[in-house]
Structures are given as structure tokens and as C-alpha cells.
């Protein structure tokens, strides 16, 4: 009578052990995948918005080269809005590693600088339309300074994400 009861207990114990082991394995497997997912999302968001900013900037450069200040001003406002949208999109992403968090900070700072660049380009275009050449040059100079800083931050963020 005692032997079958012992067997049942040992079989039940074995099942419990197998269940515990499999669940622990599942938990252990889920951690690395989840960790890479956060940084991958950050990388994707950064790439998408960088591409859009590049297209915006290309249009602004062409408008400026063709001496179309009104169009340039409109595009500069759009550039600024895209830079701010990029910041919002990046702020919503949660990086999963220390490098990712550092990259996010750099990218946010880069797009903040690009928003300033867009504002200064718009002011430069407006000044140009009003015939205020000195003001137009001044705003363009400030924009160029922030553009250099923003670009350096963006590339640093990209390097961190690999």
C-alpha cells in the first residue's frame, strides 16, 4: 500500500520540477531578447527621423541656392516641426541598455539643436524678405553653429547604437 503512494508522489514531484525548470528557462530566454528590442526601437526611430530631416534640409538648401527666401522660410518652419516631432518620438522610446540611454540623450539634444537651426533659418529668410541683410546673415550664422553642434551629437548617438 505504501509503495504506490510513494511512486505517485515522486511522479508528481518530477512533473513539478520539470514545470519549474521550463518556466525558469523561458524567463531566462526572454531577458536578452527584450533587452535588445528597446535599443533596436531607438535605432529605428533615429534612422527614420534622420532620413526625414535630411530630406527637409536638402529642400532648404535648394531653396536657398535658387534664391527663393519665401519657400525657404516655409521649409525651415517645417524642418523645425520635424525636429520637434523627432524629439517626441525619441522621448517615447525606452532604451534597454546604458549605451542606449546615453544615445537617446545625445539624439534628443541633437534634434533640439536642429529645432533651433530651423527657427534661425526661418528668421533668416524673413529678414531676407524684408531686405534686412545684416539680420539675415546673423541668423544664418547662428543656425550654422547649431547645425554643426547638432550634427556632431547625432553622429555620436549613432556611433553608440552601432
Amino acid at each position: 500500500m505504501r509503495a504506490p503512494a510513494f511512486c505517485r508522489r515522486s511522479v508528481a514531484g518530477g512533473r513539478v520540477f520539470a514545470l519549474v525548470l521550463s518556466s525558469l528557462a523561458a524567463v531566462a530566454l526572454s531577458f536578452p531578447v527584450a533587452a535588445s528590442a528597446g535599443d533596436a526601437a531607438l535605432r529605428t526611430t533615429l534612422t527614420q527621423w534622420s532620413h526625414r530631416i535630411a530630406l527637409d534640409a536638402q529642400g532648404i538648401g535648394l531653396s536657398a541656392a535658387r534664391r527663393h527666401p519665401r519657400r525657404m522660410t516655409r521649409r525651415a518652419r517645417h524642418f523645425r516641426l520635424d525636429a520637434l516631432r523627432a524629439r517626441n518620438a525619441l522621448a517615447a522610446v525606452r532604451p534597454s541598455s546604458a549605451r542606449g540611454r546615453r544615445a537617446k540623450k545625445l539624439a534628443l539634444a541633437a534634434f533640439y539643436d536642429y529645432a533651433i537651426v530651423g527657427r534661425q533659418w526661418a528668421l533668416s529668410g524673413q529678414a531676407r524678405l524684408r531686405g534686412l541683410r545684416a539680420a539675415a546673415v546673423g541668423h544664418a550664422r547662428i543656425a550654422a553653429q547649431y547645425a554643426r553642434k547638432g550634427s556632431a551629437l547625432l553622429l555620436a548617438a549613432k556611433r553608440l547604437l552601432g
Binding site: 530566454l29 531578447v33 535588445s36 529605428t44 538648401g61 547645425a147
Partner: protein
């Protein structure tokens, strides 16, 4: 602890862990599909630009720097503006003449 309760608890934990793995994998798949979508959009938007730059961040930095140079030169220029072309752009005509390369405009 009652073995049945233990089994139920462990099974629940295993299901939660499985859901976590599925969620993480789905997140990765979503980002990959987003990357693919970006590439597809890029190809559509910039067919006239030849090869798409592999490095979007570098491309953005270069374009912003180039634009900054162009705007500075234009601001300092004493040449009169192309009033006719600028007005044409305001009326939304001529934006498809090569200048507008943004798909969303």
C-alpha cells in the same frame, strides 16, 4: 504548499514568461518591418538620387551642414531674389520641378 496550487502557479508563471518572449520578439519584428518600410519609402522618394545612403544619420548631418552653408551664402549675397520662382512656389506650382523631394508635401 499543495502540489496542485504549485502546479497552477508555475504554469501561470510559464505562460507569463512565454507572453514576454512573444512580446519581445514581436517588438523586434515590428522594428524590422518599420526598417523595411523606411527603406521602401526611401526608394520611392529618392529614385532620382541614385543609391540610397546606407547611413541615414551621416546623410542628415551632411545635408544639414550643406543647407547651413547655402543659407549663409544666400543671406550674405547681394543678388536679388528670384521673386517669380518664389511666388510660383507659394502658389504650389513648380514644387514638382525637382526642388520638392519630400513625399509628405
Amino acid at each position: 504548499m499543495n502540489p496542485r496550487k504549485l502546479i497552477v502557479t508555475v504554469a501561470t508563471l510559464a505562460l507569463l514568461a512565454g507572453a514576454g518572449v512573444a512580446g519581445a520578439v514581436a517588438g523586434n519584428s515590428a522594428t524590422r518591418s518599420a526598417e523595411t518600410a523606411t527603406t521602401a519609402t526611401t526608394t520611392t522618394c529618392s529614385d532620382d538620387q541614385g543609391e540610397q545612403a546606407e547611413n541615414d544619420e551621416q546623410e542628415a548631418a551632411d545635408e544639414v551642414d550643406n543647407a547651413a552653408t547655402e543659407v549663409s551664402q544666400e543671406a550674405a549675397s547681394t543678388q536679388t531674389d528670384d521673386q517669380a520662382g518664389d511666388d510660383q512656389g507659394d502658389n504650389n506650382q513648380g514644387d514638382d520641378q525637382g526642388e520638392n523631394q519630400n513625399c509628405d508635401e
